[in-house]
């Protein structure tokens, strides 16, 4: 019980720290470095390795921090992240295995594209200025950069996870042959 409470506290601190890093440090970073999306990256990682329930907690916490700190309507980030997690969960449940690097990469690619499209549309329908960001070249360039970052990070994280988590270790089916 005590261990679980500690785990929850560490989880909360870690996600809050990530949210602040994303909000302040990455937003100020130039060019391609400003396109890193830590929230989405950790969300997909959590969904893939720890399941939908853990990812929901992440959505609530990361989304809350971002909704609090930014000036979009309250709930903008939570909703965008939630629907991305939902899509990821559906794809993972119906189409992909949770033990393959290619699955992880495919999941990362689809959810990153979906998250950006969804938030662009949500912004279009809710922001007073109604700028259609899907028509902007910067949006597509930013999405491309974000995909590069997320896919690279996915490869790195997956290989890191395989060294730490037993269930992802490669194994061979051996046939006992009698000579």
């Amino acid at each position: 019980m005590f261990k679980k409470i500690w785990q929850i506290i560490i989880f909360i601190i870690f996600i809050s720290f990530l949210a602040v890093i994303q909000f302040s440090l990455i937003s100020a970073a130039p060019g391609i470095f400003g396109q890193i999306n830590l929230g989405l990256l950790v969300l997909i990682f959590t969904l893939f390795f720890f399941g939908f329930r853990a990812s929901i907690f992440l959505v609530l916490l990361f989304g809350f921090w971002f909704d609090l700190m930014t000036f979009k309507f309250f709930g903008f980030y939570t909703i965008s992240l939630f629907f991305s997690a939902l899509l990821g969960y559906w794809i993972l449940n119906n189409w992909l295995t949770n033990r393959s690097l290619y699955s992880f990469l495919a999941l990362m690619f689809i959810t990153t594209v979906f998250y950006n499209f969804f938030s662009a549309l949500l912004f279009y329908f809710t922001a007073p200025e109604r700028s259609f960001l899907l028509g902007s070249g910067d949006f597509w360039l930013g999405l491309g950069y974000q995909l590069i970052w997320n896919l690279l990070a996915a490869i790195l994280l997956f290989n890191l996870a395989t060294t730490l988590i037993k269930k992802l270790k490669p194994f061979f089916l051996e046939k006992n042959t009698v000579l």
Binding site: V20, T70, F71, F82, G142
Partner: protein, 270 residues
């Protein structure tokens, strides 16, 4: 009968998110939100400063600038002298007018609130340009929508567009739709409106065709239509676009501030 599991993630999300939305809407969460924001603001400022530093260095490297530092220093010097010059010109003009009335008012004696930039916010993360900045002062510090924001050299860098109790969002003068009432520092004090252009430069519009503008002219705030006082330097005219068949002529201005280096600003309280 539908069975609902106790640890159902859907249920958890709907209940928690619904509660958050409701309590935020009602305003019950406001003290907690303010507390949490005040908790992260110092670290946010520090992180932003690191990011901004990195951004400046990256930009300098990108421009192959061993000369960048020198240019930066000279730009600052020019900006300072421009502000001084503009202030002196304005003081001289006003002096002439006010001497007759014996009603001297001290110029540039604004009440200001010093603020640290804690983040940049774009419409969406994908897409670099048109980023507003978020400062660590808000309604509780007397900051209101429409107030002008100046750099440490005294050059106007933007205006407040949204406020929360402890933070505020500032649009930069280079962002499209960030408009300021402006005037040229020429003999006619030509008036117009400045607007950001692609997040890089500033354009001045609605200048009557008959007005004479030349490159190098300094553009200042006109003090009309808002809470921004007259006389703050916006930029310098770098190009003039005039067509004889048009009613208005336009000009492009170079901002005199490097927006990547901004970390501390002042909000002018009128």
């Amino acid at each position: 009968m539908i069975k609902i599991k106790k640890n159902n993630p859907w249920l958890i999300f709907i209940v928690v998110f619904g509660l958050l939305i409701f309590l935020h809407g009602v305003g019950v969460l406001r003290p907690i939100e303010s507390f949490l924001l005040s908790l992260v603001k110092p670290s946010s400022g520090q992180f932003y400063s690191w990011g901004s530093n990195f951004s400046s260095r990256y930009q300098a490297r990108k421009d192959q600038v061993g000369l960048a530092e020198q240019v930066d220093e000279l730009t600052k010097e020019v900006a300072r002298l421009t502000v001084d010059n503009s202030r002196l010109q304005r003081v001289e003009e006003e002096n002439k007018k006010l001497r007759n009335q014996l009603n001297f008012s001290s110029v540039n004696n604004f009440k200001t609130v010093l603020a640290t930039i804690i983040a940049k916010e774009a419409a969406l993360q994908a897409g670099e340009q048109n980023r507003d900045v978020i400062i660590d002062k808000g309604e509780n510090d007397g900051v209101e929508v429409g107030f002008g924001v100046v750099s440490d050299e005294g050059i106007i860098v933007g205006k407040v567009v949204e406020t929360k109790s402890t933070t505020a969002k500032v649009c930069l003068t280079t962002r499209p739709d960030c408009q300021l009432a402006a005037a040229l520092q020429n003999t006619n004090q030509t008036q117009g409106i400045t607007d950001g252009d692609l997040g890089l430069t500033i354009k001045m519009e609605y200048i009557p065709q008959l007005e004479k503008i030349s490159t190098g002219d300094i553009v200042i705030t006109s003090g009309l239509g808002g809470n921004i006082p007259r006389g703050l330097v916006i930029g310098r005219v770098s190009a003039v676009y005039s067509e004889s068949n048009e009613v208005w002529q336009n000009a492009t201005l170079d901002p005199l501030v490097n927006f990547n280096n901004l970390t501390v600003v002042s909000v002018i309280i009128p």
